[in-house]
């Protein structure tokens, strides 16, 4: 991965060091970004399987990316996102191939947002895990 290109604002330093990439930023058709993480030692739990924590990290990153993207579209880019909570359901083992994730915003209010996130591998109709997140939005700047 080249550092010469600007790192995507959709990815935290943590997400980047885990290997998360922006597959499709959704700008073209106004959808939530699709993120992906290739299988590597960094995300591996038991041999040839993703670690639950790495799956969670991807789900969460996709949730924030969707909110961040929509806020920019709504010209509300100048807010900070703070996690309230996340609930994850692990539906099936994620094996050694690329894992994708995309969120759907259920509610984007003034102070808080609620998003659902799904991740899948080769077959999108068979999700590996899902998450529901609540996120607080606060004005950027000193608290």
């Amino acid at each position: 991965m080249a550092d010469s290109i600007d790192p995507s604002p959709l990815l935290t330093p943590y997400a980047r060091s885990m290997g998360v990439e922006v597959q499709d930023d959704g700008a073209e058709n106004g959808t939530a970004p699709i993120l992906s993480v290739p299988f590597s030692d960094t995300v591996q739990g038991r041999p040839s399987h993703y670690h639950g924590g790495a799956i969670s990290g991807l789900l969460e990153t996709a949730g924030y990316a969707a909110i961040r993207t929509q806020l920019e579209l709504d010209q509300r880019g100048n807010v900070r996102l703070k996690p309230i909570n996340i609930t994850m359901q692990f539906l099936a083992a994620a094996k050694s191939e690329t894992l994708f994730a995309q969120a759907r915003i259920t509610k984007l209010g003034r102070r808080n947002a609620n998003v659902e996130v799904e991740c899948w591998q080769a077959d999108r109709s068979r999700p590996r895990a899902t998450a529901v997140m609540n996120v607080l939005m606060v004005a950027a700047g000193p608290e």
Partner: protein, 161 residues
Amino acid sequence: MAAHPFHCLPCMSEQTPQFDPKSMARFMFGASHNGFLGMGYHAHGENWMELELPWREDLVGDSEQHVLASGPIISLLDMASGMAIWTRMQAFTPVATLDLRVDYLRPAKERCAVIGRSECYRLTRSAAFVRGIAHDGDAEDPVANMAGVFMTIGGASQRGG
């Protein structure tokens, strides 16, 4: 389901020797996702486990703040939960996370390591119920609260009921 590391190791298939969380941690945290995060053993009891996640620049959630991202804290609590279950079972039985909820009570302190503590408070033939916290020095003032359910996979465990 997000299965836990090494559950398929042949050594644990039949009679498992006394489960020793401390040496298990040394073995498990050398590589893979746990190793990437730099997790380490902190303490354990009959049905609980504490792991430590050191602060590291490249694991922050916001480049303007020196605070651990929430993702690694989920990994920490998930791992501590798996190990709490094995500690309670006294065996390395395959388990997989079914459901995990994390409430973020406040941001971790800047440049601070985080301790993840999980307790397996109920164990049945097929499910293990866990709860825990993450804190950055004072367990009375946690950073996060966690609740989860794990399933045993690949055959019933010998214990519980």
